[in-house]
Amino acid sequence: MVVDEDRDALTFRVHRSAYRSLEVFRREMASIWGATWLYLGHETEIPSPGDFLTRTLGGRPLIFCRDSSGAVRAFLNSCTHRGAILCRHTEGNAKFFQCFYHAWTFSNSGELHALPDSEAYPDVDAFKERMALRRVPRLQIHEGFVFVAFTPDVPELLTHIGRAAHYMSLTARIGPAGLTTLPGVQLYSVKGNWKLAVENAMDGYHFVPTHNTFVGYLRETGFAVTDEDQYAYDLGGGHGLLILTGHNGRIGMVWEPRFGEGERERIVAKRAEMTQRLGAELAAEVADASRILYVFPNLLLFDLEALTIRQLEPVEPGRTDVRAWQFVEVGEPPAVRALRLKTMVSFVGPGGLATPDDIEAYESVQRGIAATAGTEYDWSDMSRGMANEKRGNRGRSVDEGVMRSFWRHWAGVMGE
């Protein structure tokens, strides 16, 4: 048993083999990465017909593209002939993908367009049809977030996302002209299991001690961080949400001193625009509080001072590749765009003033749990807040309720 919970005794612990066992990792690849919806990327990364990106997801190299008719597509990035990587560029625009090995050429909607010396194949038309580029079996989009599944046997995307869909929609409504990702993707890798990155993002308890120096920096700019009256929500399906009112201002929505006086005035106008566009109630829900949303298994949406999309790609039990995009309002003034980017990367990413300490935390756990391997002490405790929840209270952001709901879901899909 990996997840050991006793609701009467108020104990909850996770066996640390879940972070380091190759056998567990392989089962995760099959039972999670091979069996459920995964976040692939955002539509705005490929705005024009012919735009393509290559990206590895769940260990599989993919082409993520917009075909010539404008439809978003995802293909296995492997020539159907002998398996060579079909597209060896990371991004670009192309009507066709030609394999360099034998010059088989596929259209950006997947048809095998040109087959050199095709007369050597008896029934060329049928052969070409059979050898079309392999589509990822399922692809659906919610608010521009493109998800794929490597098996056709999954429910509709909105059924999978469930209650998390609403919070993605809230974020998508921040700007009157919508939101877009920007070029300049943070590509980095951590020496820690992917689930440690999930726990860290859903963990308000670590914020003050781990980010002591960042909290100190905010204090010097005139902002006092608080964890009072803030909550964490189990959204079902392994998805989780923190709603934070006391961690930061929100560019365009909630002022704090480091944004400057110009932004203070702009926020008044922007809030009025939001109220007019969305109605007072929805505008308040979109704007008033920061949110960290986790969509099982590989998407984190940080809607904080500014916005970041983070994608987790497990590589080994002790290694996770991370990709992070800046997510911004379409059409905002250049000065606001620059403020947003400066502010966001001062916090998040491997060069920020805070994320390196998170990385230190999960890498430190990954190293530290070697100490208990094979002993009776090889368990991590996640019982914080269980007594409060049992009394029927909302789970605080500084408790561990959303980690527990994540792990319960994980145990379910893993057949634990």
Binding site: L182, F214, K342, G351, I359
Partner: protein, 157 residues
């Protein structure tokens, strides 16, 4: 400011960083100076229009130095051992009081049993002052395809 002056400046800067003499290092910036590290996919996009690893204004550089001097900067407590090689220094362009320079760097970093190599080039805009060159813009451009496992930018690149 000639190439030898720039070399002296960059070698001394590398020494200050390897020895974690961060207050002396911060004094190498003019007031209002900036520091940038673009992402590894950067195709010439500036820090006001694209995602970056580091896009510090002067206040943020100061905050970064203060943080790194604190024992609560957990990612750098204990501190990384770094060893910097700076070479291929070229003065690209001279303004009235400024010079645009480039140089190659290879930085070896060691921590917790891990060894990491950061390779790239500097693209600085330096201001000539009576006390020697000062950074107006300090830009470190990594040439790797991504940050290797464990290769964070918790130190000054």
């Amino acid at each position: 400011v000639n190439r030898a002056d720039v070399e002296d400046f960059l070698y001394r800067e590398a020494m200050l960083l390897d020895e974690w003499r961060l207050d002396e290092w911060f004094a190498l910036f003019e007031e209002g100076g900036r520091m940038e590290v673009p992402t590894t996919d950067n195709q010439g996009w500036d820090s006001g229009t694209a995602g970056y690893f580091v896009a510090d204004d002067y206040d943020l550089i100061r905050a970064r130095v203060k943080r790194l001097k604190s024992r609560m900067a957990h990612a750098e407590n204990p501190r990384s051992r770094t060893h910097r090689m700076v070479s291929n220094v070229v003065v690209l362009e001279r303004g009235e009081r400024t010079v645009r320079v480039t140089a190659n760097f290879a930085i070896h970093r060691y921590r917790d049993g891990g060894a990491y190599t950061y390779v790239g080039r500097y693209e600085h805009l330096l201001l000539a002052t009576p006390d020697g060159p000062r950074f107006r813009l300090r830009r470190a451009v990594p040439v790797m395809e991504s940050m290797d496992p464990g290769a964070r930018l918790s130190f000054i690149l």
